[in-house]
Symmetry: C2
Subunit: 529 residues, 2 copies
């Protein structure tokens, strides 16, 4: 009888743990590829009977266009128009691709900094339109959400969560210098073996590379502190009605879902509330549309090359398109190119242009031999998942870093978009298709990606549900968050111990001096006597 | 057709990932509770059709007595007898319990150090008997094992793995000052918020506690370096026929299975190849033997208290037994006491003595109200699993630390075995049974333990199988292992940058001085003119 009771109790307990019937999730998203990635999590949450509501501005360019039928959208009004946002984001991206200085890292970083500043100004506008909209906040409060899922690259999610008094979870791929992960998440990043984000270094650094990594670390730390943090701190303090800072608010995140894993990144220290769920959007290939399938099959034993520059860049200047097209015309493979510009004159008969391609299904096709990619994290992960070697032509944001990583892992050849010639591209394609090492390395990464105790998507959803079930995950939060920077580095303790040691040495030497003087005096007296 | 092919390929790929048919596992175990814990993993591996072989000495006290029918045992001869080992281990334990100094931490640690020294001398003897036994090593080599699972607390497993040229995995709970985890595993342990192992501190430290933690860190670091490491280094170099060290050999571990989790420990930085699988031996309660069940049921609404001092200590001096028995006689609960000594005179009618008890089944019984425990990690985890508050009477090894942690988490009251009175024990029992906070906290820890994406045992087995499938897990290994201590802390880089800065300042000031002198000279000349 008693044993039955235990079993019943245990079952009830376990059931109550492993389901949150109809949890309510509020979402603070980011445009473009970030949205594609996050939507995978949201669709899965909706599949599991949670009510998912996405806060989206009336000016959203991409999210509105790629809505999901199972997700609710709370559209808030903003003074910006769609054209404003499209112009701004496209201008930032174009400047990054075509105008960022190439000759010096510092000039490049400084240009990148300006891009970020413009982006954050835009996010701040959106944020004001949400948190100062009393009616909207009241409506959201009345909805009694269980958790907020925020894209960590765009501030404001944590502020909305604070206003609604609900726990929040971040989804994040990478920030320059790992500054957000470090200063908001408490993630340790020793510069001796953790190459900082955007440094394009590997974990096997020479002495001079470690010097470089240290300088980058200091640079990004300084940049981050010099960012308009004070403006955000003031804004957050005003909205919350108490003195606070952006970082202190971000530090309250229960869980960080980091969109990479050890097939993509180099292994590094992590924290119990950091879960590396990279590639969660990857899935087995579905059948291709008939037209594409026929084209693919027509490639024979040579197979196909898939080419896409991502969801934001579907066009390019004519000269670049011709350089690329003429290289593609010379390879034995058939090419499927996602391109929405004027058909290049040098386009070969082996190359087909498409405005949109089923990228994941193509990468999972057995005839696919290589992937020419801009190096967006989503695309790179699809290539890893299906074990396809890459030719990387990074354009902006973290793409240079992603391709540098794939190159270091022996699964990609890297080219420069602005300067590469047809021969460069041709050679790169020949290398990744003819040298079996690239395929082997891509397959090794694929095995790592597939062979995890729990699928990344299930892990991401598990931790969001965990936060809903337990109203947080405080047991995973390190105490580092409660320390100042000098306490964190034990500088006060080291100072105290050094002061103690100095005092002891001082007292001992004074005593010795005193004794010696007494002894010397006595000796003198004795001599005089 | 092609899509079918993809699916077939993917299935084959996935199947090949997720099963290692008949992998061969060699085991380097440790006696007593360590063996109980490891046996759970080995039984599970055997259940999954792996061939498990345990290297056990002819003098083993506990492992031989607690063999498993599904595991093979490779018994090697040693010059020690069972009595030698039993006497040695019991003498170490008794000295730790009854003779370790109480008045000063330093005297206690120094006493503990002597206990460890004696233990490691014994392990070294066993190790020599294995690795210098050429016939045994030849036999093991011929068996072509896929992986070696070693208890990290007793060196030698890594040496055997090196001789057999197979990857190895550690199972480990905790070492003093986290020294092994730090120096062999590369685990970062910032002293500002990670209380070092055996310090009995929490992660919420005052300034003086942080000073204490820093001093402990330095002390244990010094202790570890001052241990007879050189002796081991020489031994390992001789056996492997190349200059090497114990630490360098240990650093090659593919995976560290750490026997705790964030319900037991405070959150801290970890590494991708450290998997926290505490409580993997816990399981739902089975029905009790009829006699015990009848006794438990006779307790009525008051319920029962379970009392055990673990697998190594089943007896105690008469005066201590009487102090305990008279306290137990005064509580309204019935008491089940695992005790193998002379029946205490003060034993109450509510207390039943047993030479052995089904501890996990009792802790999972709905009538169990509290657990009096010595604080062994296995027992504490069973209490956590079933949500039972504890009265901790730590005796030796990590037990003081374990009980300090449970006390800090509000799930235990701590007593001192050598000095506690009947009233102390009575009050402690009243506190944990009458104050609902203790039960609530124990249940909170239980919820954390139950609510994980994968059960700890499955996670442990997954990573051992992973190492077998992929012949290692190099992608999880941080590059910190390839750095010297000053490189790890970037001291060479900092030194270089400071030297550069000093040179620049020197040159600038020299230039300024030169210009100033020139300017001054000219001025003087002009004046003279």
């Amino acid at each position: 009888m008693s044993v039955k009771w235990t079993s019943v109790l245990l079952l009830v307990l376990l059931n109550s743990f492993h389901s949150v019937s109809c949890g309510k999730v509020l979402v603070w998203p980011t445009e473009y590829s970030h949205w594609i990635n996050m939507k995978t999590i949201l669709d899965e949450l909706a599949q599991r009977d949670h009510e998912v509501t996405v806060l989206v501005s009336s000016s959203s360019v991409f999210i509105n266009a790629k809505k999901s039928p199972v997700i609710k959208f709370e559209v808030y009004l903003t003074s910006l128009t769609k054209d404003d946002v499209d112009d701004l984001l496209m201008d930032i991206i174009k400047k990054w691709i075509y105008e960022s200085p190439k000759d010096s890292f510092w000039a490049y970083f400084s240009h990148m900094q300006e891009n970020f500043r413009r982006y954050y100004d835009y996010i701040e506008k959106l944020c004001r339109d949400v948190v100062l909209n009393k009616e909207l906040i009241k409506k959201l409060q009345a909805s009694r959400f269980d958790v907020l899922l925020a894209d960590g690259v765009s501030p404001c999610g944590e502020l909305v969560a604070e206003l609604l008094k609900i726990p929040f979870v971040y989804s994040l791929h990478l920030t320059p210098g790992h500054t957000v992960e470090k200063y908001s998440g408490g993630l340790p990043s020793p510069p001796s073996y953790v190459p900082v984000g955007f440094s394009e270094l590997t974990d096997q650094m020479t002495f001079m590379e470690r010097v470089k990594n240290m300088i980058y670390t200091l640079y990004f730390d300084f940049w981050f502190q010099a960012c308009d943090l004070k403006k955000w701190d003031l804004f957050y303090s005003q909205v919350l009605g108490k003195p606070t800072t952006l970082l202190d608010t971000m530090k309250k995140a229960e869980i960080w879902l980091i969109q990479n894993y050890w097939d993509f990144k180099f292994p590094r220290p992590l924290l119990p509330n950091f879960h590396f769920v990279g590639g969660l959007h990857c899935k087995p290939a579905k059948p291709l549309p008939k037209e594409i399938e026929d084209f693919v099959q027509s490639s024979g034993k040579h197979g196909v090359v898939v080419f896409s520059l991502g969801s934001t860049v579907s066009n390019m200047p004519e000269d670049r398109a011709n350089v690329i097209a003429s290289a593609l015309a010379q390879i034995p493979q058939k090419v499927i190119w996602r391109f929405d510009g004027k058909k290049p004159d040098s386009l070969g008969p082996n190359t087909q242009l498409y405005k949109w391609i089923p990228q994941n299904d193509l990468l999972g096709h057995p005839k696919t031999k290589a992937f020419i990619t801009h190096g967006g994290a989503n695309g790179v992960y699809e290539a890893i998942y299906h074990g396809i070697p890459m030719v990387g032509i990074p354009l902006f944001a973290d793409q240079h870093e992603n391709i540098a990583l794939m190159k270091a892992k022996g699964a990609a050849v890297r080219l420069d978009f602005r300067t590469m010639s047809s021969t460069d591209l041709l050679n790169a394609l020949k290398t990744v298709t003819d040298n079996p090492l690239y395929k082997e390395n891509a397959m090794r990464l694929s095995r790592i990606q597939h062979d995890q105790p729990v699928k990344p998507l299930d892990r991401a959803v598990f931790w969001i549900e965990f936060v809903m079930r337990h109203k947080g995950a405080k047991h995973l939060r390190v105490a580092a968050h409660d320390l100042t920077w000098f306490q964190y580095h034990s500088l006060d303790v080291i100072g105290f111990l050094l002061a103690c040691a100095a005092t002891v040495i001082f007292i001992i030497s004074k005593c010795c001096l005193f004794c010696w003087q007494k002894f010397a005096k006595r000796g003198k007296k004795k001599k005089q006597e």
